[in-house]
């Protein structure tokens, strides 16, 4: 029993001695592990700092430098090629000079009076229908009737002929009135054109498109008014054609009647 106990204690001491060595190894390893990790962390940190500086110097720095160059180039292009201040001023001066040069000449031409009548009534009528005052339109029928005479009385002409006279007179007077309105609106359009030119004189490159759009709208108005004048002319021409045709019809019927009467006379001598 004693021997077994002694053997056990000896083994225990031997194992303890071996474990103690292991314990020392474990403790030293534990002490060394954090030191290795920290060294590894420092290495990573240095690598990271290197990556950051390289990125800042390379891709970011280069890109920003390029952007600066492009920006400067775009700015220069805009200020020196597309919208150079000198050329903007030059264009405005050109508009101003053109306006100064032509406005007077055109006003003189516009101011020329084309009235040519010599007798009192024609002079009066001409004066009214060239007045470009739509307010004077009411005077047209009375003066027109005095010059061209009223429609024949019912006893003096056939109803068909009286109708022809009346529609011819009506279309003629309508067109004269339309021409008066057209003259008046033409003057308004000239005023608008003048405003547009004045606006162009002070416009900026960016606002010029707005002035152009405005001019286009005014152009559309003019086209519409021109169409109305064409419509008046069409009415007049159509009336003239219809008048000639009506006369032909009347002559044809009259000829036929005459032929019938002659035959009647010849058959009953």
């Amino acid at each position: 029993m004693k021997t077994k106990t002694l053997e056990f204690l000896r083994n225990f001491q031997h194992q303890l001695s071996r474990s103690r060595r292991w314990l020392v190894v474990v403790v030293i390893s534990l002490c060394l592990i954090p030191a290795n990790s920290r060294a590894q962390g420092i290495g990573d940190l240095l690598l990271l700092l290197h990556t950051i500086t390289t990125t800042l110097q390379g891709p970011i720095g280069d890109a920003l430098t390029e952007m600066r160059k492009v920006n400067a180039a775009v700015n220069n292009f805009r200020q020196q090629i597309i919208w150079p201040l000198a050329l903007i001023s030059q264009a405005r001066s050109f508009v101003s000079a053109t306006r100064a040069h032509y406005t007077g000449l055109m006003s003189q031409i516009e101011g020329i009076k084309n009235n040519s009548a010599t007798l009192a009534l024609p002079m009066q009528l001409e004066s009214v229908f060239r007045s470009a005052q739509s307010g004077s339109m009411g005077q047209i029928p009375s003066i027109y009737t005095q010059i061209y005479q009223p429609v024949a009385l019912s006893g003096s002409a056939q109803p068909a002929q009286r109708n022809l006279m009346d529609i011819d007179d009506a279309m003629s007077m309508d067109s004269l009135k339309t021409a008066m309105v057209s003259d008046q609106t033409s003057q308004s359009m000239l005023t608008l054109a003048d405003s547009l030119e004045q606006q162009a004189m002070t416009a900026a490159p960016g606002s010029a498109s707005m002035v152009t759009a405005q001019a286009r709208v005014a152009d559309l108005e003019t086209q519409a008014q021109l169409a109305k004048m064409l419509a008046a002319q069409l009415r007049e021409e159509a009336t003239k054609l219809a008048h000639q045709n009506a006369l032909l019809k009347q002559r044809s019927v009259a000829t036929q009647n005459l032929q019938n009467q002659i035959q009647q006379v010849l058959t009953h001598p």
């Binding site: 403790v27 009346d166 005023t191 419509a231």
Partner: protein
């Protein structure tokens, strides 16, 4: 025996105590956080150098170009705001559209003034249809036209050639009258469109005014096309008028030849 056992036990306990003490010393000697925070750690020194380098790079390689870009952008913005798109010029252009509106309305009203001048019932009816600017009034034009100018002569009253000529002339005269009504109606629509576009221009921006300009240009093309169609109608009216003159000359020549022939026959019979 007991003494030996005690001695060995004591040795074991002593070794264990030594190991424990060594462990305590090692743990005490381990680096603490406080040391690295004080900048004594070489790791912190390296980090400081690295961060200083980054800061310098941010200042020189990033901030400097960015500042330059900002300055350039600012200059560009100022140029655009003061030279290219000055607000005063933009507002001035908008105000012009407001002023034009009144003028456009006035002009449209002028063209709506009554200009009818006929005095007899039938001419009045035709004139009313012609000046109506209403394309729906086309059938009335036909009936009013025939009431006023008469229909084509009956076959017994005129040769077929003359009847053809008369019918052709009536057709063209009526077509021209109808075209005049159409053109009037289209012109009214154009005037309305112009006023509406002008209203849009009062609130437009320089960037969007080109869209309105394009819209107006489209309307102008349309207006020109309508004007062209009216001109074509006018040309047709005059062509028919010219053709009528020629036709009448031909009829006259034919009649003269017939008369001459008949006269010769009569004279020959008288001689015999």
């Amino acid at each position: 025996m007991k003494t030996t056992t005690r001695s060995r036990l004591w040795k074991v306990l002593r070794n264990a105590a030594a190991v424990a003490c060594g462990l305590v010393v090692v743990i005490t000697l381990l680096p603490s956080k406080a040391r690295s925070q004080l900048g004594l750690d070489p790791c912190c020194a390296m980090m400081q150098i690295g961060l200083n380098t980054i800061s310098g790079l941010l200042r020189n390689s990033v901030a400097s170009p960015l500042g330059s870009i900002q300055q350039s952008q600012q200059q560009s913005a100022t140029f655009e705001q003061q030279v290219v798109f000055p607000l005063a010029a933009i507002n001035q252009a908008r105000n012009m559209a407001v002023q034009f509106e009144g003028q456009f309305v006035q002009m449209r009203q002028l063209f709506q003034l009554p200009i009818g001048s006929a005095t007899l019932p039938m001419p009045q009816m035709l004139e009313q249809s012609l000046l109506s600017g209403n394309p729906g009034a086309m059938p009335q034009i036909t009936s009013n036209y025939y009431s006023l100018y008469g229909t084509v002569m009956a076959p017994a009253n005129a040769p077929q050639q003359v009847r053809n000529l008369v019918d052709m002339t009536d057709a063209e005269a009526q077509a021209a009258m109808k075209k005049a009504v159409e053109i009037d109606a289209l012109a009214n629509l154009e005037l309305q469109a112009a006023e509406q576009i002008n209203q849009q221009l009062q609130t437009t921006a320089p960037g969007t005014s080109t869209i309105l300009e394009a819209e107006t240009a489209a309307w102008l093309v349309r207006a020109n096309a309508y004007t062209q169609s009216a001109m074509a109608e006018l040309v047709r009216v005059r062509s028919i008028e010219l053709a009528n003159s020629s036709g009448q000359l031909k009829f006259s020549a034919s009649h003269t030849a017939t008369l001459q022939s008949t006269g010769n026959q009569v004279l020959q019979q008288g001689v015999q």
